[in-house]
Chain length 213, copies 2
């Protein structure tokens, strides 16, 4: 954190605590303490705690969603060129892969991944609304392409299966940082799982669930 400027140090520290303890359970003093900046610096640079949270999300999600959108549009356009339906596995891969690979890109990335893994289920609507607002248009694009890929599936069934998939995804991102009680054999399994095989496993699971007869 040495060479970074104040704003970035605050963002990194906030990301860490928001991910580990949640938004309301993190105080500005914890953040400024870890970032080694003055307490007043948060309000000087960001205006409020909530505006800080918004920037924590946007710093990572805007570039990440740009990649996801490009991936999704490519899958859709390729299918159109070939005159066939998009492949469900390809669609979900386009959506999922950037997030999971970002997770493996470094230790600070893990903080953020744990945060978005829980964003949909945050208790109060502060976090949830900021997250959904950023994600919504991309989610609609995903729904539309999946509807092309699974034209025979009733819309409400597609909606629910996509929600199941979002839940599976969010929970997976979330627990990648958590521990389990007792010294159970499963504990090691998590840490030993490589990121590529995890992507492979969740893609197979989700694709199978989405395509169920």
């Amino acid at each position: 954190m040495a060479g970074l400027d104040t704003k970035e140090r605050i963002l990194n520290a906030a990301e860490h605590f928001f991910a580990r303890d949640g938004f309301h359970n993190t105080s500005l003093r914890m953040i400024t303490g870890r970032a080694k900046v003055n307490l007043a610096a948060v309000n000087y640079h960001f205006g409020s705690k909530e505006a800080l949270l918004k920037e924590v999300f946007e710093r990572r999600l805007i570039p990440l969603n740009k990649i996801r959108r490009e991936n999704l549009e490519r899958v859709r356009d390729d299918a159109r060129k070939k005159g066939c339906k998009p492949n469900v596995r390809d669609v979900m891969h386009a959506f999922i892969e950037p997030t999971f690979h970002f997770m493996a890109s470094g230790p600070e990335a893990k903080d953020f991944i744990a945060l978005i893994g829980r964003a949909l289920s945050e208790p109060d609507d502060t976090v949830r609304n900021i997250f959904i607002h950023i994600m919504w248009s991309l989610f609609i694009l995903l729904v539309e392409i999946l509807a092309d890929a699974l034209p025979e599936l009733p819309k409400n069934v597609l909606f629910w299966r996509l929600q199941f998939s979002m839940g599976a995804m969010a929970h997976t991102l979330h627990i990648s940082q958590k521990s389990f009680p007792e010294h159970h054999a499963f504990m090691n399994i998590i840490s030993e799982t490589e990121i590529d095989s995890l992507i492979e496993m969740i893609l197979k699971y989700i694709t199978s669930g989405l395509e169920a007869s």
Copy 2:
């Protein structure tokens, strides 16, 4: 809330706010205000805010898990009698159905369901640890029976697929009380979905994902 005694009124009010706003974002004053009891009554009857949370969980989870355990053991014993493997769908039905049907049992039940739908992904470990401690032995039983049902599946793959299923389930319980941005057609789909068809949909999705080749 009129005829109920103080302790039960506090439990109901706490359940409501813990589910809606989360543990740390709920104050004892909110709880006692809704329950129409004195502020000091919480510490008199429960000892602390955290002990109150524990009782909120236990009041519903202990009877619910008793049913789930009986269901699971019945599925396992039936399969043993017949000398065949347990059926994956039957196993997951035994685990899932009591929760979803409890959800439909009344308006207060919805508060609790939203709470456990988020328990696994709560920001801080207060809520999560209490929940996991109550659920752990049942979860292990579920894992063991599923391992019998899917003997050819590597243990780490089974573990992850079960985690995906838990995520799907938790997210589904959680969003059953939430709204989505904009007036999107999907909004109506949620509220119109009947509980039995929701159970059917999630069972089909999860079973298909667990059994994927």
